[in-house]
Symmetry: C2
Subunit: 371 residues, 2 copies
């Protein structure tokens, strides 16, 4: 009976609001007709507001990983020197994609669980003396639940004349990232994170000032070609069939975000995060990222107490309490669990998560050691 | 009141059966959990049956165009000589993608409205004396409503030792294309055509014997990398977040196809096509492709009578009769309309289409000239 009752707390896909679910039930329409053009025109306006950008927001049938590739092939040429600031698994993937396409990647790999700082980035750019075409960085690193101070990093990058290309797949809408104000040249995002829509839509926003770089880039491209997409988008069209039902959902989700208010949306994410973090501390568990200043508002990583394996904890939460959380990646496998609070997440969901976590740990024989 | 009442007869997206619609209402789940792995394992089995292939079927969050790019970057290397057999707009696109990636394309462009033949392809391969790595061809050309005789063309291509890479985006499931039996090395498809699922899923099937070519190809790739996808698929997983809700739909749609029976599914497409073509002829209208032997079972192109513009006819069908059909592309704009009968299309839909077409033409002042 409870097969479809589940609290989905993995960092994407995230829970779908009923308003979004209902919007997606509308019948599929022809993507070459006035009704679609009206939908897509409205969507483009809303997306520009979401990214706080005056340039273009491109909409692809794709996963977030595709958007990282789209940024690489639209902004860079083979052998371009770039600085890859990686603080975890997704930073590594972004850089790996760039290397795969022949980009000359200088790695600034920081310890998992820490954030980059403007000082570290400035030093890395200055020391190597390479004429970096771009700095690639993750906004919110999903593998460690850390958010990078993109605003301050943007300043040192722009002072040095490089492009700033940001993976915000799991950060956008959960935390502020006003593109024009911060001078971010490109931002990648995806539907299934804080945007509360099922997976299948990838987004890249491009700042108007960065458009010339797209025109100059020499990487071969067709599917991801922003030049082609831009030509079609100016007529509220796409170069190929868009994921219509998912776009209905995204459109409804954006309405929900603007109805709540973007600032209120950010504030709620912070509030929900704090409720969870306080509860974790009170329970006597350890946060993987103790420093609130770099702790993500998208998700929280919790250390699994010694003597318990993360996999067992995840299965117990799933099977007994119908709560789905994520484990750790790479060397953190079994050692942390990651609880998402992106998008359609309410304080009450966190209360339930805390209660279930406590119960599941007890089931597995854990007893609180500290006072 | 009738805003959402529409008979969708464009060649993709196509109507969604209620069974598929309901399946997509299931809640989104974590793509890294046993329930997803079960879904994806079943889906892979069904897809192999659909493509009639023993190799792999890759599932991407993408449009059909992405699948053409995926074939190019996974099978070819820069400067590889290939023969592009194009009989229309989508053949041209396939070849354009290959050229964009530095492939050495020899074009065999045939007149729009005609099909390729094994003789023409053999002659083109023999005359140029190029060591063609591959022949690229469209199964069903959506712009002209023509189907190529892929079975016979495959024979001459295999005799000459080249790979056969097929765009079957609008043909798969509407007409037979058994990959292993016909020795087709790769086939591209998409969800929103005869597969009766909303747009957003791209598919490429690869014959086991063709796998070595994928390993040897030198084109840079990450998102489309079949090697990466294969590694994950062997554990019923994907390299990045799959479009879960659309996969629910595809799974349900495949069940509908197998419940009807694949042969019966093909037969119905032919029957529905014949009903439409006979009706068009009886009405005194001209078919763009008079020859039944090369006429597509996916869609039918009808010449717009002289004195009437195709755009007006499309708008009349849309606004007065709530039927959505497609126009012509390139030099056929305004001169033909294209009526899809892919997927969830019943004889009764064609009766309605015929009735509406007759009425719309009358509204526009057409009177039948011939007896």
């Amino acid at each position: 009976m409870f097969a479809e009752k589940e609290l989905l707390l993995v960092p994407g896909p995230t829970p779908i609001p009923p308003q979004v679910q209902r919007a997606m039930m509308r019948p599929v329409i022809n993507h070459r007709c006035p009704a679609y053009e009206e939908l897509f025109a409205g969507l483009q306006e809303k997306l520009k507001r979401l990214f706080a950008v005056n340039g273009e927001v491109f909409v692809f049938p794709a996963a977030g990983t595709g958007m990282l590739e789209a940024i690489v092939v639209n902004f860079l040429s083979p052998n371009d020197p770039v600085l890859m600031v990686s603080i975890g698994w997704f930073g590594d993937r972004f850089g790996e994609i760039a290397e795969r396409f022949g980009v000359n990647v200088t790695w600034l790999k920081l310890e998992w669980g820490t954030a980059a700082t403007p000082e570290i980035v400035a030093k890395a750019m200055d020391e190597t003396k390479k004429p970096f075409k771009a700095v690639l960085i993750t906004h919110n690193e999903t593998s460690t639940a850390v958010v990078n101070p993109v605003k301050d990093i943007a300043k040192v990058v722009k002072e040095r004349g490089a492009l700033l290309l940001v993976d915000a797949v799991s950060g956008l809408a959960a935390m502020p990232l006003p593109m024009d104000e911060w001078q971010i040249d490109a931002v990648a995002a995806a539907s299934q994170k804080a945007l509360m829509t099922p997976p299948g839509i990838g987004l890249v926003a491009v700042r108007e000032e960065a458009w010339e770089a797209v025109e100059m880039a020499q990487m071969p491209r067709f599917y991801w070609d922003f030049r082609l997409a831009r030509k079609f988008q100016s007529h509220n069209q796409n170069p190929y069939t868009p994921p219509v039902t998912l776009l209905y959902g995204l459109d409804a989700a954006l309405d929900l975000i603007f109805d709540e208010g973007m600032d209120a949306f950010f504030e709620r994410h912070k509030r929900v995060r704090d409720l969870l973090r306080n509860g974790i501390r009170e329970m006597g568990l350890e946060l993987f990222v103790p420093d609130d200043k770099i702790a993500s508002c998208s998700l929280t990583a919790v250390k699994v107490p010694e003597g318990i394996h993360g996999g067992d904890l995840i299965r117990q939460l799933r099977n007994k309490y119908r709560i789905e959380v994520a484990g750790g990646q790479e060397h953190l496998r079994g050692k942390i669990i990651r609880i998402s609070h992106m998008g359609y997440i309410h304080e009450s969901d966190m209360l339930l998560a805390l209660g279930a976590l406590k119960s599941a740990l007890k089931d597995l024989g854990w007893s609180r050691n500290c006072p």
